[in-house]
Point group: C2
Chain length 397, copies 2
């Protein structure tokens, strides 16, 4: 994929810097995006308007030549790394090698990502290389606007995600309600002769994702009081009549792009409060979907969701920044090479633009009620948005 990095070229020109330097392994999405290279240990990429250059170890040299998008690949041995390391230690040697390599590339000053490593930065500055972290999120903003190829990668990952959500729903659908059958006499769900647990559903989701070519980060299958904490992964027996939040955010093993989706299920009879919360959350979701179009800010979309909840008398972080119940997170986040990226549907969310891929995930939380969240993934189009999610939305399973 050839990204459109003209905003970065403009930034470098305005800042009077020769290039953009990245020191990271490929789990860092800026590194992955600029180099096109997968490697488990940190390596160095110099992006300049006229060339992209990589500096790698002997081990990675052959593969970097074949697989990266760099115009040129150098290796540490070309700059005498081993003898420098023997004399000055590995960190100082690496700094000398990078400085010499930059010099060969005609680079005297670089911009870097906000999170460029401090030790290497200090050592380059000591060698008179200007090193300036750019704080305008230039590359993150570039990455936020997906090409049609990238959108198809995300769409494909969401299709795999739906197969996994279907597998989870199927377990819940097939499960039996077993009154008093829990270890402590509580009501539980049972499947295949055992108590049905969060862990069992999570395993089914993750195996399904694997069979559909996705790796996973942590999957959330949170029941009852666990569901009241938005980041609680959930554990232990699943129970009838309680909300079960299933939040899956897989990564395609081939393309590295993520998808993200949440559904909330109840097996049995939800309480009236839970029913109301579900309808309210579905209403907030629809209102957000309706609002998303180019030119609208993420902050405005988040405000619309807060309006729905506050109008119904529920607390939000907008009405009470220290609230621990109600709507206690943002409305959405970008999704791409990272599972959390720009844009943000939050109080500091900027203008949405075509190609932005963003979650819409209103939710309500209270240990006395449990939790509800419904999350779709959309792409902003020229005149509105397209929902990349086809999964049905219904509370009772």
């Amino acid at each position: 994929m050839d990204p459109d990095l003209s905003p970065l070229d403009e930034y470098l020109d305005e800042a009077d810097l020769d290039g953009y330097l990245v020191d990271a392994d490929s789990s860092d999405s800026t590194q992955r995006y600029l180099s096109g290279f997968d490697a488990p240990d940190p390596f160095v990429t110099l992006y300049a308007p006229e060339t992209t250059a990589l500096l790698v170890s002997a081990l990675e040299y052959g593969r970097a030549n074949r697989q990266s998008r760099a115009d040129q690949v150098s290796r540490l041995a070309e700059y005498d790394y081993r003898s420098l390391a023997a004399e000055h230690g590995p960190k100082a040697a690496k700094a000398r090698v990078v400085a010499d390599w930059l010099d060969d590339l005609g680079v005297a000053g670089v911009a870097t990502p906000e999170r460029f490593p401090l030790g290497p930065a200090d050592r380059l500055r000591a060698r008179d290389v200007a090193v300036e972290p750019e704080t305008e999120d230039v590359v993150t903003e570039v990455r936020a606007r997906k090409t049609s190829e990238e959108i198809e990668h995300v769409r494909a990952a969401q299709r795999a995600n739906e197969a996994a959500m279907d597998a989870a729903a199927e377990l819940l659908r097939e499960a039996e309600i077993a009154d008093g059958a829990g270890a402590d006499g509580t009501d539980v769900l049972r499947y295949g002769g055992d108590v049905l647990t969060s862990e069992r559903v999570r395993e089914e989701i993750e195996v399904t994702l694997l069979r559909h070519g996705c790796a996973l980060d942590e999957t959330i299958v949170a029941c009852g009081a666990d569901a009241a904490d938005p980041h609680d992964r959930g554990s232990g027996p699943l129970r009838p009549d309680e909300p079960i939040i299933v939040d899956i955010f897989p990564r395609s093993k081939e393309t590295k792009y993520h998808a993200d989706m949440t559904r909330t299920f109840v097996k049995g009879d939800p309480t009236d409060t839970l029913r109301e919360w579900f309808e309210l959350t579905h209403e907030a979701l629809d209102a957000a979907h309706e609002a998303i179009e180019p030119g609208v800010t993420g902050a405005a979309v988040h405000d619309i969701v807060c309006d729905v909840y506050e109008d119904a008398g529920l607390p939000t972080l907008r009405s009470d920044p220290k609230s621990e119940t109600g709507f206690i997170h943002s409305t959405g986040h970008g999704v791409g090479l990272d599972v959390h990226e720009l844009p943000r549907l939050s109080p500091d969310g900027d203008e949405l633009r075509p190609g932005h891929v963003v979650t819409v995930e209103p939710g309500l939380y209270d240990p006395d009620v449990g939790g509800v969240r419904i999350e779709d993934l959309v792409v902003v189009t020229e005149d509105g948005s397209e929902n990349l999610t086809e999964q049905p939305i219904e509370l009772r399973i």
Copy 2:
């Protein structure tokens, strides 16, 4: 788990700094180790000899209080983050909040990891907080020496790893040799009615790992010429008479500790060169196992492996730093919360000490021959080492 951080206390005392500051998410092992907290977005940890403090978002606040090892947890809202962000922007606001929080903790100067993020560091320095990346790998050295609890975590992950390697070996064992049955008329392996591919074996490995509670990084199933590149994951049909390198490095989902193991298989008849390479590599493995004990350096162990290969006439990076064939990587690396950590069995490998967990992975590579690697995982004991790996070593499957 309560780590023994006295080396860090000593470092801070000698450097006349008040604490050690980390700004990262929990995929950063230093962050995970010091905070004991799992979170997908960056948060801030201050380790001081008398206290460990966390600074987190509203979303993580409840869970950080319950699950981290911190003595105190603060949240951004306590320092007025939202109004500061509205006035100064999120990055400057964060810097002010962190500076005020450090001030409340009586901290004027901090050491940080080598790879602390540059933007936040520059902003703290501009607010007169001393920020000094420590370059002696203090926390990485502490993490390298595992407690008996940690060794059991690694051992358990290696048991899961062996189940996965058995699953891979079983597919290869059950596969049939199908002469001329490849799409291009080449010989391939077949299993269950299809051509047996790298991807199919990888899927079996990864599903097995999941069922044993492990997540995975990228698994390597590399055949023939693919096996000649040590980091090539492998792809496409598996073939008879060619080496198939299977390298699996899973992470326990519960404990987050890794294991690591490689075996090389041939289905059919290996060439004489491959047989020789396998025996030589097994000999190098045994020599390295024999040598590992407290007081020996990683460099010395690596030299012993280079000796075995060079005595047999094969190139190593020691005899030719630019070689692209032969023994072209290090002998081993530490394994723990990271899949690559200290100590190193390499030219700059330091003294081994009890509690060190390290791979031993000699290998030979040449596109004309393929590749061979055999990798075990050992823990250094008081008087030698213990192999955490029980998997048999044999070439023909």
